[in-house]
């Protein structure tokens, strides 16, 4: 099982869109996927039309495996379940460690309902201080969307610093360019510079700024379901292909 966290310390950079479309792409490729919505704004759940779960606010939640398994909901797509979570990060630490332990009661419970996930995608909130470093430790990769502007360049530096300060391996960081507008010279220059600074760490694939992706809010569905052959759909496909081979997901 692999865990991918989608994280950004800045809002509105295409983080939830990446989580939503990545989850759909993985599931379509036959990877049994669980998408956990950890962002209080609940955007991932919104795109999948899943209502936030009340059960998850129960304090006893994580002491009771059954309650947890009950909170997982099927999406409208095969191989993809959603955890419309709204929980404390301490609880989420417990959840992740149990998911990583193949002998835990939680794993066995999920296996028994045919929900033994190959991939867990976390849509994380845009806040470094409250998100436990354990979540970063547990993750196999932390996807970071970077809008190619000078300000975002600075924000990404902050993340790498945070990782170094906390003694976390920054090799797990997988940045990618998001909301790219190719006609803007600034975007082009920033991308060139950052690729030079960070070497091969950045994904080759990038997500353009396009109406296909903007319309996700209106469709409330992954881009591939309504614009698979348009710019947006093709971009997420390339994004998935590269990521899955880099993380050996398929």
């Amino acid at each position: 099982m692999k865990i991918i966290a989608c994280y950004s310390n800045k809002g509105g950079v295409g983080k939830s869109a990446a989580a939503v479309n990545l989850a759909h792409a993985a599931a379509s490729a036959g990877v049994n996927t669980l998408l956990c919505d950890l962002d209080p704004q609940g955007a991932s759940g919104f795109y999948y039309r899943v209502k936030p779960s009340k059960k998850l606010q129960d304090d006893r939640f994580f002491t009771d495996v059954k309650k947890f398994t009950n909170a997982i909901k099927a999406s409208d797509y095969p191989n993809l379940d959603i955890l419309p979570a709204n929980m404390s990060y301490r609880d989420f630490d417990v959840f992740l460690s149990r998911m990583k332990n193949s002998r835990s009661r939680l794993k066995k419970a999920l296996k028994s309902v045919d929900a033994d996930y190959d991939l867990i995608i976390l849509d994380c909130p845009p806040n470094l201080s409250t998100l436990s470093e354990n979540v970063f430790r547990a993750a196999d990769a932390i996807l970071v969307p970077v809008v190619p502007t000078t300000l975002s360049e600075r924000t990404f530096e902050q993340i790498t610093e945070f990782f170094r300060d906390e003694g976390l391996s920054d090799k797990k960081l997988v940045p990618f360019f998001s909301m790219v507008q190719r006609q803007k010279t600034l975007h082009g220059e920033t991308m060139a510079r950052m690729r030079e600074t960070y070497g091969k760490r950045f994904l080759d694939a990038f997500i353009p700024f396009t109406t296909d992706i903007e319309r996700m809010g209106a469709h409330r569905a992954p881009v591939a379901t309504y614009a698979a052959r348009k710019t947006g759909g093709r971009a997420y496909d390339a994004f998935w292909q590269e990521l899955s081979s880099r993380l050996k997901l398929t």
Partner: protein
Amino acid sequence: MLTLANSYEALWPGFEARKGAELARHDTVDFMILADSPQTLFAEQVAKLQPQLEEDVKTGFALLDNFDGDLRQSGRALLWMGDGLLLLDDRAASLFQALPGNQRFVADLPDGPVKNALADLPDLRCLLELTSGSLSRRNGALVDDEGKTRTRFTLLELHGTDGNVMLVQTEKLRGYEKAHGQLQAYLLAAADGGSGATAHIYHALVPDHLPYIAKPKTVFAPDEKAVVAATHVISAYLAVAQRNEEGIIADLDTEFLHDYRVALRKIRSVLSLFRGVYSDSQTVALKRSFSELMAPTGRLRDIDVYLMERDDYYRLLPESLHGGLEEMFGRFQKSRKSELRKLTRRFEGQAYARQMTSLQALFSDTSRLHMGPAAERPVHEYARELIWKRYRKVCKMGRAIDDNTPDELVHELRINCKKLRYLMEFFAPLFSRKEVKARINDLKGLQDNLGLFNDYSVQQVALQEVLDRAKMSDRGKKLDMAKSVGALIAILHQRQLDERARVTRSFAEFDSAAVQDSFRNQFQKVTA
């Protein structure tokens, strides 16, 4: 539409109706069966959820089962639906498997979940179409106010030649179990009480289907006249034989001929075992008549048995001797064809039809039969006496057998054991069914042992005959076959010796004090 029977349980084991619309059902069952297609189905919201239906797809369908009706009796229904097989089970989730070909035997199906779930069916029985017709399939979903799918379903409307039925497969989505329950409740209400049990598929699609029962249970009162009982048993088995004719002619599977012969053999054993119920001259005439019916089927059955042994024979011999086997089995296949043709002509001929009709008429009641001295005896007393005598005979013969007794006497013992079992089976309804079953079971170990001993000896003789009969111009081929047959006979001979060596012990096990007591208690005459 069917109306709901007195209890849900009767229609649908594991299903309970509770107060209101709340339903509980075995977790894994995922389909419902509506006796007909309600026009208004999904015309409005279901528990505040919006139904969405896709366009329908039309294909053909067939309802399949073997001749013994094993699927129906075990609460299952197998549907071929254009592109695959759907297996419904009263106690488990439905299974689907794609089916590219037109396989008739379970063993020939491609590997898959349906094939696995059918592993309990007898290998020798083919799947038959009970009925067929057109199928309309529609996928649908119940969707909430956010446009999220809460539960999915597939409507299958089956239009058969003799009736229609609608199946709704429902899909429970993780986290949305409530909606699934609401859908089931809605369907149940919409069907005006149709039900989930697969039995309803059969009722709706093949309402007039007459189940085939290879061992009919005849019931008679203890004080019934022996001649009436004998006549009933013969009449029932005559009907069994006739039910098999069609399957033999169509060459569906080898069990049709086998069952046909077993039925006639049982009739013959009634004639010889129920001594004195018919007059001597009539008994002789009837025995002859039934022997004449059986005789033309013997050769074909023998060939069927050889062909069944095929894999075993290939395993027994090294590859260097397979050439001779090939030659031999090629000959069997050829003569099977001509034997079947002969038998078919016979079944379709007028003489055969006349013979069967007159036998049927003769055994329809006792008025045309000539009574023997035992005809009027009360059947219970008569049966008890026959079984007890036969049991004593088996014991006497068995106790006389040791490891050096000639084979003929072992064969005699086998035949008497068989007669004892037939008697107990025929008269089972007169005694405690459970007890009779237990006695038959006591006998089973010994019978299996003797049966194998006999099979191996018969096979040796038959193989020798095959060789003697083969007219071959090609001396090389003849030599190949002789080598293979010789090797087989040697192996079968050893197997026969092994079985023979077990006979004394098998009999001793049967002849235990406990079994003796049981037979005595049940069948010995109570003296005042």
